[in-house]
């Protein structure tokens, strides 16, 4: 995928660009808002990682607003040191698709950016999700694996749905908290791990091959073969 990184800090930018390239993406970098806007408006990207405070007169918010006013719908991930709730709201209101605060873990950034680009692709309403021999019928709210019906609690169903929608993709604990529980804080206890392990008991335990894998230092991934 083609990703544009607009970030003025040389170290942070270098780290992000290197990481994204290692993950197999094509990355362009702009160090000022003006350059970033020029690149974003003149070339096609699958996602933009955007700092909010940028030199050169055009800050992240302005850049995004200008881009959106031109009808450009490229998914944008804010990456900012402005961490207050109001800042986040402002960023999302301006047209941002996700908001991450600095400092950040690269695994989290990568997972979220990939989720953003994925989201743009399958917009159509789906009624059925399938990963290997695991099937989820969204209309009858039923789950089957290898033809066997599996009973899930409503919350387990939503957790599995989230994992299946992001199949073959790293899903972090924070993403699950926000996406499944709509919680915007980190609980002290390992709640997510407990819920995932319960889901594993039902989805993976009775079968030969596991589908839910733990990705070290990052989160989880649902796919037929181990990552």
């Amino acid at each position: 995928m083609r990703i544009l990184v607009v970030e003025d800090d040389k170290d942070v930018a270098g780290f992000v660009v290197k990481g994204l390239k290692e993950a197999g993406h094509v990355v362009e970098h702009a160090a000022t808002g003006r350059d970033g806007l020029f690149l974003a408006a003149s070339e096609a990207f699958d996602a933009i990682v955007l700092d909010r405070m940028l030199p050169g007169g055009v800050d992240g918010l302005r850049l995004l607003e200008t881009l959106r006013s031109q009808g450009n719908t490229t998914p944008v991930m804010f990456l900012s040191a402005l961490a207050q709730v109001d800042d986040r709201v402002k960023g999302l209101k301006a047209g941002g698709d996700d908001y991450m605060t600095k400092p950040f873990a690269f695994a989290e950034l990568l997972a979220r950016v990939e989720a953003l680009t994925r989201r743009g692709r399958n917009e159509g309403p789906t009624t059925k999700l399938v990963v290997a021999d695991l099937e989820m019928d969204l209309l009858s709210r039923s789950v089957k694996r290898a033809g066997t019906k599996i009973d899930l609690q409503p919350r387990e169903f939503r957790l599995l749905e989230f994992l299946m929608r992001h199949a073959a993709q790293v899903v972090t604990r924070t993403m699950l908290l926000e996406g499944v529980w709509d919680y915007h804080f980190d609980p002290q206890t390992n709640v997510i791990d407990v819920h995932v392990s319960r889901l594993r008991q039902k989805i993976d335990k009775p079968f030969a091959t596991p589908l839910i894998h733990t990705v070290r230092n990052a989160g989880y991934m649902l796919r037929p073969e181990p990552p």
Binding site: A83, Q84, V85, P103, Y183, V191
Partner: protein, 480 residues
Amino acid sequence: MTGRGIVEIPSLPAGAPPELHRLPPPSLIERAFRSTGVRFGVIYAALFGLSAVALAAFLWWSTAGLLERQTDTAIDVDAQGLSERYTEGGVPALVETIKQRVDGNVDDDAIYLLVDPAFRIIAGNLDGWPERLAIDVEATEIRISRGGVASLAMVHRYDLADGFHLVVGRDVEAKAQLRRMLADAMVWAAGIALALGSVGAWAVRGLFRATIADVAATATAIGAGDLTRRVRVSGQGDEFDMLAETINDMLERMTRLMDGVRQVSNAIAHDLRTPITRARARLEDAATHAASTDELRAAVDRAIVDLDGIVAIFQALLRIAEIEAGSRRAAFAAFDMTPVLRDLVDMYEAVAEDNGQALEADIPDTLPMFGDRDMVQQAVANLLDNALKFTPAGQSITLAASRTGAGAWIAVADRGPGIPLADRERAPERFFRGEQARNTPGSGLGLALVQAVAHLHGGNLVLSDNNPGLRAELQLQAIE
């Protein structure tokens, strides 16, 4: 033409003061009127004087004025009767009637005079035609002479046919005396009103100044750094007391915020030093002693975990500061607490079961609330986190909620070691960690956030003994 000013400025002699831009010094009166106290005093005096004048005018109108109007009416009625007689029987009848009336006048205040075209007296009780009663005057107050005695009279003049003139009047000497007395009284009253008004104005100004002086003195003391000073409240419950209380409330809050800032800076200085030291030591140790790349990588990984912990503490501190500053009030909205609490129970129940604990919930079907949903959610989550952390296996944790008159009451009770009475007061302070909590993971900020959220919602966090264990009650007001 427009460039004139620019050309003229350099032509001014060097050092000449720019007179045009200097305001004239304020005069003494201008200066005095800048004082609100003086303005209030003057307004008071003006109102007092105005009401005194209004009162005097009414008094005059209803006494002296009334008498005058009565006299006028009496004269008119009298003249009406005479005119009827004159129409009936001419001058002789008029003369007869005048004589009768003069004789029948017991009070001896009626005045009549009938003169012929040559102003010779035909009938009446006046000594002569009053000189000042000119030809064209119809009604006036004049000095008259009656039986040799001078007096004051109100007279009306009527010109009859054939050149005869008739004067009808009333002696008003007694009434004039009354009027003079009244006027004298009013002059005195005006003097007294002026004196009282001035004294009152001065008193108002003084009172005002005294009250303001206390506020000013308090503000000065606060400005100089003495945050304990407060404005004196007289206890009368008047507007000044209300002002004083408002100011005191503001100062109270400012002091709390200042304390908060001080606490946070102290906390950063002391409590963050430990994890930073640890991370630094690990990195330095790895840099100098690591024998292999794997060891080095492991040390770096651990240091990252340490740094993440520090960041988490920072975020918690900032979050608490954000809540305490009250800026989150803008995000207040109406919501139902019940699904929020049910979701939390659903989330933590699994964890409790894994730990061998039981999580029991007693939540009403609906619990309307007005506030910040995310913040309340996080506060209850923190309480549940704590309860799960400290309750031993085999014991239960309860989450109870109910509606109160003002909002909502939420309680989380556990069977852990509890918090000793001595520490309970300090438990919600930032970075406070009790003896029992020393060896458990945590930042010591959980309860601080809960308390901040409670304060944000006009409520409180109350910690009590659950015999055994801790009972944390959250009282929230649904302030709109």
